[in-house]
């Protein structure tokens, strides 16, 4: 385990299955490390609860509270009997001092978050729906390091996911995707999209991106 036992005594909290750890939009001052068990990260989308992620022992969540007192961006619910270590923002420095492993974990989490946010910004800045959709597909392909971009790429995604990344309505996104299907550039299946030539999409997006500011 990452942390010594005395941390568990001092910072340990236990949750029963189904118990909420924190709720989206609640102000947050603490972040958590899972000692044992697992939690579901959920959001209400169109009044339906959607599971965004599941986290297990060793994972950290709620870390945005370290930076600033922003409301929580998702709800976290214990998926089974779960033991967490709960750390207040004020203890952060002292905690890092004693737990460089945790600090390292946070570096990795922030690296990923920065990339996601930057990528999202780049997609949103493109001015054509088709290009936005292409760039979302490129991003999803790039995110998977084991994917060979030179052959056809299978992406586990949906119209709704793409619409949320591109900041467009589901209808607009669907139209752009349908157009690509009609052109034979992609194939759509339940929960996945096959892109025939992702490098071609990358070229088109990059070339437009260069033109945007010239």
């Amino acid at each position: 385990m990452l942390l010594d036992d005395h941390f568990l005594e001092r910072f340990g909290v236990e949750y029963a299955p189904g118990e909420i750890i924190f709720c989206e939009y609640e102000p947050g001052h603490e972040f958590y490390l899972i000692h044992s068990g697992s939690v579901k990260i959920v959001k209400l989308i169109n009044n339906r609860e959607k599971i965004m992620d599941v986290m297990y022992a060793g994972d950290v969540f709620g870390e945005q509270a370290i930076l600033e007192a922003e409301p929580r961006s998702a709800t976290v619910i214990a998926a089974e009997p779960t033991k967490l270590l709960k750390f207040h923002r004020d203890n952060f420095d002292a905690l890092l001092q004693g737990n460089p492993q945790l600090a390292f974990k946070l570096l990795v989490i922030f690296s990923k978050r920065i990339y996601d946010a930057k990528r999202r910004l780049m997609i949103l800045l493109l001015n054509e729906p088709a290009l936005k959709v292409m760039d979302v597909l490129c991003m999803l392909a790039e995110a998977n390091t084991s994917v060979d971009l030179h052959s056809q790429v299978v992406l586990e995604t949906s119209v709704k996911d793409i619409s949320s990344w591109s900041g467009m309505s589901v209808e607009e996104t669907q139209n752009a995707l349908t157009h690509m299907v009609n052109l034979g550039k992609i194939e759509m299946y339940p929960e996945k999209i096959v892109v025939k030539n992702i490098l071609d999409f990358q070229r088109q997006v990059n070339s437009r991106r260069k033109q945007m500011f010239s």
């Binding site: 189904g18 209400l44 990795v108 500011f213």
Partner: protein
């Protein structure tokens, strides 16, 4: 360029002037420390296209984020003058920084500033100037859990609402819900399911007669016949063969029995719109329906329809379908069909067409008109892309052994 392997797999590499350490888009797990010389990182700022040049100073790391986050390099790294660089694997990097927590803290500070800056830029591009009110959103979550039969989660959220917003506009409702749940008076809403067993004792709801007495509806005529494959459903307004009144009466009964009668929801029935923005109102309406109060849900939905400032087509489309759903739950089947028919006629290319067709299938199921129900559900089941609506339609077809 020359490599020297030092302890723990760390390599020292000497570069000539103007050498490329890496290109933007490269994938690599290596992390670098500049030992001697100069490295220039070059990238375009996404918002402006402006070229940014950052100089790495001796002793500083670079290439950290992309290596740790496992994504492509975001900048070009080029040497200026002869330069010596240490190349680390993520494991080496971890070992080094773990022994020097100050380095990690400094990096976390830099990263958090970057994250904040990009987050701000994203919000600006999205036009999120009027940010949502966390108090209202928190209350909506509480209502959602209350309405979906999860009192413990609802209790948590209502309590948090009271903790942070004791003077909030929903405070009295939240307190009442807390008391109800804590005193065991919480009653899970009954969700109307189309395939409930038909009750044996017939009864009449206020809308039964209307359904058969009236022949046309707002969507009368050649509704939903835009010439595409959907045109086979242009009989949306044709209610003639919906079956006998007695069958229908028994279907209605299950609805009547589902009405909440414990007074728990009375406090929601103040007749005042509880929320301001159209999106808020829509969510509130869904919460009302989940709580079994379709009358107030419809009132809010009507307000959105009447609001000329609402321009989001997705929201308007959802409002039509939600109205249909409320009418269905109220047992006002003809009105439900009119609403859905009008929607399909006016917005045949909406992304919510499939949802509307599924609801129409549900209405016909409720009305005991199996042929039509089957036609609509089959249509939904076959509509690409395959998603949960297809699954729901297939499940209903299976349940009803169509």
């Amino acid at each position: 360029m020359s490599d020297v392997i030092s302890g723990g797999g760390i390599r020292t590499r000497t570069y000539k002037s103007q050498a490329i350490v890496y290109f933007e888009g490269d994938k690599s797990e290596s992390i670098y420390i500049l030992k001697k010389g100069k490295v220039l990182l070059t990238y375009l700022r996404p918002e402006t296209g402006e070229e940014i040049k950052e100089e790495v100073r001796p002793g500083e790391f670079f290439g950290v984020k992309s290596a740790l986050g496992k994504y492509p390099r975001e900048e070009n790294a080029q040497t200026i003058g002869e330069t010596v660089i240490l190349i680390l694997s993520p494991v080496d990097f971890e070992r080094i920084v773990l022994s020097n927590i100050q380095v990690v803290k400094k990096m976390l500070r830099v990263f958090s500033n970057q994250l904040r800056r990009i987050g701000r830029a994203v919000r600006e591009v999205m036009g999120e100037t009027n940010s949502v009110d966390p108090a209202n959103e928190l209350y909506k979550i509480a209502d959602h859990y209350s309405g979906s039969g999860r009192p413990q989660q609802a209790l948590y959220a209502y309590k948090k609402y009271m903790e942070y917003y004791p003077d909030g506009k929903y405070a009295s409702n939240a307190m009442r819900m807390i008391r109800n749940i804590e005193s065991g008076n919480y009653q899970a809403p009954v969700v109307a399911v189309a395939d409930e067993p038909v009750m044996s004792r017939p009864s009449v709801s206020e809308s039964d007669d209307d359904f058969f007495a009236s022949e046309s509806s707002a969507g009368a005529g050649s509704s939903f016949d835009d010439g595409n494959a959907n045109s086979e459903f242009s009989d949306f307004d044709d209610y003639d063969d919906l079956g006998g009144l007695s069958d229908f009466g028994t279907e209605m009964d299950s609805f009547v029995s589902n009405s909440p009668d414990d007074g728990m929801m009375d406090d929601f029935g103040l007749g005042e719109p509880l929320s301001s923005s159209p999106e808020d109102k829509y969510n509130e309406a869904v919460a009302f329906r989940n709580n079994g109060d379709c009358t107030h849900a419809i009132k809010l939905l009507d307000e959105i329809k009447a609001d000329k400032s609402v321009s989001d087509p997705d929201l308007l489309h959802k409002v039509f379908i939600e109205t249909g759903r409320c009418k269905l739950e109220q047992g006002k089947l003809q009105e439900a069909l009119s609403e859905l028919s009008l929607f399909l006629k006016n917005y045949p290319r909406s992304p919510f067409v499939k949802e509307a067709l599924l609801e129409a299938g549900n209405v016909y199921l409720k009305a005991g008109s199996k042929d039509k129900a089957m036609a609509y559900l089959k249509k939904v089941a076959a509509m690409p892309p395959r998603d949960e609506l297809n699954q729901q339609a297939l499940a209903l077809l299976k349940q009803h052994k169509f």
